[in-house]
């Protein structure tokens, strides 16, 4: 068996595999974010200072690009997941490649808009 590397091997593969690999990758990113998020919230049990210290290291203007990338991972994962659900219900199977383009485009549009709103809200641009 090829193992987990089989999820990320793209040589000789089609667009489907690229979408699949990105889905796995963004899933791992979201899992790591979830762990960090829950760790931050759990730190409240230690004390408010600990929580504030954690927050002050990550919630800064310099880390906004990372938040933006997190949005990108979230929207890609969400829209691609929707595509997979549709295909797995046997819907739009023949249009599976067009659906990849459509869902990726929707993910990118949502990402750009959310990043714009985030910067607008936090910096007043």
């Amino acid at each position: 068996m090829k193992g987990v590397s089989g999820w990320f091997t793209l040589k000789g593969k089609s667009l489907n595999s690229l979408a699949y690999s990105f889905h796995r990758l963004t899933g791992i990113v979201l899992l790591l974010y979830l762990i960090a998020h829950l760790s931050f919230l759990t730190s409240l049990r230690i004390g408010e200072e600990t929580y504030t210290a954690f927050i002050s290291t990550t919630v800064r203007l310099e880390t906004l690009p990372l938040d933006s990338l997190l949005f990108l991972a979230t929207f890609y994962h969400a829209f691609n997941g929707l595509r997979v659900v549709l295909n797995e219900f046997g819907l739009l199977y023949e249009a599976r490649k067009a659906l990849i383009y459509l869902m990726t485009l929707l993910g990118l549009l949502f990402w750009l808009y959310s990043t714009y709103v985030m910067y607008l809200f936090l910096t007043g641009w």
């Binding site: 068996m1 193992g3 091997t9 000789g12 593969k13 595999s17 699949y20 219900f89």
Partner: protein
């Protein structure tokens, strides 16, 4: 038209894996399988590969060519380029050079009962089982599978779980479940409804992309999944 080509072959001698390059002059229309035979007959007689019909029917010569599983007999050298990287199929143990052990692959195929099941089997008094063209069309495409293992090699779910039935076996199960003459649907649905069956598929659909017979195994798996879901819901109320 003739051109010098390089066959970069991933070899395995039972202990170690290594790449070996072979240069030779290929002519227009020459297939990868003909190239492999040329190497075996003229450059290195120890090269091991599997082949039989040479016309895309038996499925024996499936190998990875530049990362993509293909039938060597159906792939022309010039369609690929001047340098061809040839490897054994993934997700199956390599025995020697390009030969993989397909035993597990065939055991999975066998496990889904890929044959017509009838309750009224009577070999003394056989009867004709009629079908309409529509009934034939419901499964015909899926009956064209040649069990080459290309789909199994490309499947990322098969890459991580050795107990996953894989696209070829599930396609075979669907082919018979969709056959109007068959009466073994319940048996097969019980076999493919587990986590090692249809629910393990995460719809990469690469199996459909690489299938040399274009039979769309991913479509069969998703149809089987729907059938399985209905079967599971019905079984709750039984």
């Amino acid at each position: 038209m003739e051109r010098e080509v390089i066959f970069r072959i991933r070899r395995f001698d039972g202990e170690k894996t290594y790449w070996q390059d072979f240069r030779f002059t290929a002519r227009k229309g020459m297939t990868v399988l003909e190239g492999l035979y040329f190497i075996k007959e003229n450059l290195d007689g120890s090269l091991a590969f599997r082949a039989s019909c040479r016309m895309g029917v038996c499925g024996s010569c499936a190998v990875k060519i530049n990362g993509r599983p293909r039938l060597a007999c159906e792939t022309q050298i010039f369609d690929i380029g001047s340098t061809l990287e040839i490897e054994p199929l993934d997700n199956m143990p390599v025995l020697k050079d390009l030969i993989v052990d397909m035993d597990g692959f065939f055991r999975k195929h066998e496990a889904v009962k890929p044959y017509l099941i009838r309750r009224d089997d009577d070999y003394e008094n056989p009867k004709e089982l009629l079908q309409t063209p529509e009934e034939l069309h419901a499964y015909y495409d899926f009956s064209l599978c040649i069990k080459c293992g290309a789909c199994y090699s490309a499947c990322p779910a098969s890459a991580t779980r050795s107990d996953y039935l894989g696209p070829a076996a599930i396609t075979a199960a669907y082919r018979f479940c969709a056959d109007s003459r068959d009466e073994g649907r319940e048996d097969r649905l019980n076999l493919v409804s587990g986590s090692d069956g249809v629910w393990r598929c995460h719809f990469n659909a690469e199996c459909s992309e690489v299938c040399p017979k274009s039979i769309e195994p991913a479509k069969a798996v998703q149809r089987m999944r729907l059938m399985s879901a209905i079967h599971m819901i019905k079984s709750i109320f039984r």
